[in-house]
Amino acid sequence: MATTRGFFGRRRESERDPRLPPGQYDVGAGWPVLTAEATPRVDADRWSITVDGLVDTPTTWTLRELRLLPPSVYAGDIHCVTTWSKLDTNFTGISFDTLLDAVGVRPEATFVVETSTTGYTTNLPLDDVRGGKAWIVWEHEGKPLTREHGGPVRMLVPHLYFWKSAKWIERITLLDHDEPGFWEVNGYHERGDPWREQRFDGD
């Protein structure tokens, strides 16, 4: 592709932070809010999460019950498909592995669908949410997760674009096939790996 006349870019390649995937920029201390739906008010005391589908024991937990499980912190970077990245941030919750271990994954399970209170869904290969790659979180940098960022509780899958980390998560279903979610049927990529710039359908 040709260069753009008169464009030199503010950030030179040599100065570019190696933590930034291609096409991303560092949003700094900010954290943009991008949501396709009205922001729901979810009561933390009445909230619960269910893991079901191809598991031995479908199980529902309240937030109080999750807090009794071994905590886990993610400290690192997050990347939004709209090209911002937030570097060196942290979230507290539990590893999703803890819930998978509790329900018992059936061998035929290969995909998951995350579902939010709003009806928002997003799909992922099971291997993208196990083995220390995914969290259920309720704190960001030591404070309760705010409504607009998915509070009281959201999914966190930081190695993929952030639409794969469903806000207001309430159900995760294991499947033996792929079921495209909300953005995946609305023009976005099936997997969303920021290091491969898998932004849209066909990338």
């Binding site: 260069t3 096409g23 949501t35 922001t39």
Partner: protein, 248 residues
Amino acid sequence: MSSASTGTEYAVPDDRPGGPNDRRGAAKWRDARVVEVAHPGDDAVVLRLAVPERVQHHPGQHYVVRLRAPDGYTAQRSYSVASAPGDDLVELFVERIEDGEVSGYLAEVVEPGDELEVRGPIGRWFVWSGGVPAIAIGGGSGVAPLVGMLRHAVDLGHPEDLRLAVSATTRARLPYADELEAAGARIALTREPGGGRLDASAIAGLVDPDLTVYLCGSARFTGAMETLLVDAGQPAKSIRVERFGPTG
């Protein structure tokens, strides 16, 4: 900058796979030619582009613009389409963000005849293709995709299908103010004398639980409008939101 009139027979493009406007092609990068550049105020630029092998958009969709430096460095941002599908050109409204790397370049450097790498149209959620009435609420630069919807409704001969309400600090900061005014949009100018705002009573006059609401603007604006809409009886699930984050 008005869109080309295509008469009332204009229909939404056939975008089935294999059809003339198969949207699978939308992800492809193309070199668009800048045909017109307008600067409606200090903080905005309107680009009108000729896009080769163009895939017809639905009002509400966006394009990605990618800038490429001589050393290969690239920066890309998304901008809503403000033109109707029937327009020969694709019109992008770009708000100039303070310190914005991409919007600053587009506002200061780009001239007619330049080429820009673009891909699109993108997004299948925040779209309205006419034929059914809808409610559209925009704040500041968030009116841009709604103007695309309005122009399409005009092309279809049914501008009344869109119930429009828009808000900005001043008239000078309301994109497409004349066009919105002519269309009968409810206009709130929060920092003009007597300008008012989109308050509970204004929103109560707009709602209809049977219609879809298209709401576009900053996180703060859309958050406030959502609350008013839901309080006025609009079902949360009928509200489609496009939030503009601080992406420069």
